[in-house]
Symmetry: C2
Subunit: 332 residues, 2 copies
């Protein structure tokens, strides 16, 4: 009888422990992060930032978190996704532009020779961006991007590009917002390209997306006001442009910044260079199997000087292979 | 006895009525607005926008309200307050710039001959803005503005400039925010000038202030990252620039827009030119006694074509003298 009772009590204890563990797992806001230094650093920073009266406390209004997009929130291989959009746009517009068959970089794009197309350097890319991104109103452009996102598929994973986002980073965005942080994208990508999907995919509204811009102009068309996208680059939101854009658009210095490439280095340095608690993070692409492995040299998202700076300054380095239990939401 | 009872009951009824009226007044979020067409239009729009399932319902994420600053949220006479700041700054910097005694527009400013100083037109004003607003870091500039706001007084009212704000508009901002609207400033004023006081004075955080900008540059000074204000205009957020800036910074079309001058006309037209419920408002300065009376011609805040357009299109015209019970918070 005593033995039976003890067993029952033990059984209850075991069940309770299992239940607690299950609840703890369910309640873990960063469930796709493996336990390790990166996850620990995030959780400790947020706990400290939200502990009123503590030494690391950050007032809610100051809880500004900025994220690069390409390679930080979604993938960027084999080419930046906005470039894939531009290539598809060239193909769609080719019938109306017969000259493109013999003009670079268009001829190479139409021949699916992307390496040659990009071989023309910045000038060729700028020319392609102008013909695919300008000469239309902002409303027309948003519709073209939305239509493309609804139909285009990633060449390796055969998934819509908006599914090529990192599950651990989606969890991090939600975790930060639940802790009173305002999450922003600060990306080299075109701002009007990203705003089409940022709210639905990341929970980040258009007004919290900062990016590269082309010139726009207000005009009346048949008496109706429109904003027209002009064929001229206005601002490149990359490298030293990132802190400049943060200052111009947000007007506050962030306390939390996450990137993955040398293009993010100045953003992280600017975030770090003030009094008070700060979190600086870099995603290191180390998983050739589930995603890609690259740092430097790389034509896309090169991570070289920022890795050296981050290592020296103790920034949080996320080793994708080790730190992420799951990479994409569609993984089993 | 019966008489006495009736009296007591009557007394209670009267007291109850008085109490109810007092409570109603206390609960009026627009207490400084007189009952009239303008107040009615605002209240009806907000009620309709927040009535779920109703024909005028606006989803919370789309509740973007934009306000001009000079002449709409605070006064702008006898000169735009940022110009008063620039004049004071010229005076403060004069000892280090002896040449200014004989160079325009500085000589006129130092002689307090504002009319001659402004007579040099846009070029003279631009030159003055450059020497008073550039060549320093963003942090240094913010401190100079804060120090000026803490000490400078308005020449007519002998009050700090941050008290020269309109009580009815402060109530309107709070009322909109309580109804789920996100309130923005979209002003021709310098964005880094306004951000110094916008949160404290209007409850509008820096990231919701859009304005004119000068070029800025990221650089390392003794290893510390700083952002330096360069002597070159980047963008003038006025007239057709306002819808362009709204599109670039906010990335959504507002549903509510308030201005007071021709510089706001395109912002209101852009706000109006889409499906769904919209509120368009113009402050008309009609009160020479409590504030100023001016529309056109006026060197400051001219209201001419926008008044014609607004009248034709049924925008809400606020007649300051009739519609506002109180203009400034410091009024008895």
């Amino acid at each position: 009888m005593r033995h039976r009772l003890r067993s029952a009590a033990g059984c209850v204890a075991i069940l309770a422990a299992l239940l607690c563990a299950a609840l703890a797992r369910a309640a873990d806001p960063l469930a796709s992060w493996n336990d390790g230094a990166a996850k620990k650093a995030i959780v400790e920073f947020v706990a400290s930032a939200t502990r009123a009266g503590g030494p690391g406390f950050i007032a809610p209004a100051e809880r500004i978190a900025v994220f690069d997009d390409d390679g930080t929130l979604w993938a960027e291989q084999p080419v930046y996704f906005q470039l894939a959009f531009a290539f598809d746009r060239v193909r769609a517009l080719a019938p109306q532009n017969p000259r493109w068959k013999t003009t670079e970089p268009f001829a190479s794009i139409l021949a699916s020779d992307i390496k040659s197309a990009l071989g023309g350097g910045d000038k060729a890319i700028a020319e392609m961006v102008m013909v695919t991104h300008a000469g239309i109103t902002t409303d027309e452009f948003a519709k073209i991007v939305a239509d493309w996102l609804a139909t285009a598929k990633h060449p390796r994973f055969d998934r819509p590009y908006t599914e090529m986002v990192y599950q651990p980073m989606l969890e991090l965005l939600a975790y930060l917002r639940a802790s009173g942080f305002k999450t922003y994208i600060v990306s080299g990508g075109g701002v009007e390209f990203m705003r089409v999907f940022s709210e639905k995919v990341y929970g980040i509204p258009p007004e919290q997306v900062v990016g590269s811009t082309i010139e726009t102009k207000f005009e009346l068309r048949d008496g109706t006001p429109v904003i027209v996208r002009e064929p001229a680059i206005d601002f490149i939101d990359d490298k030293a442009g990132k802190p400049v854009a943060i200052n111009e658009f947000i007007g506050r210095r962030p306390v939390f910044a996450f990137g993955n490439s040398d293009g993010d280095q100045q953003m992280l340095e600017w975030t770090a260079a003030d009094r008070g608690a700060r979190f600086l993070g870099l995603v290191h692409h180390t998983d050739a199997e589930r995603e890609w492995a690259y740092d430097h040299p790389s034509a896309v998202g090169q991570l070289d000087t920022a890795l050296v700076a981050g290592t020296a300054k103790g920034w949080t380095l996320v080793d994708m292979k080790k730190d992420w239990k799951r990479v994409f939401p569609f993984e089993k």
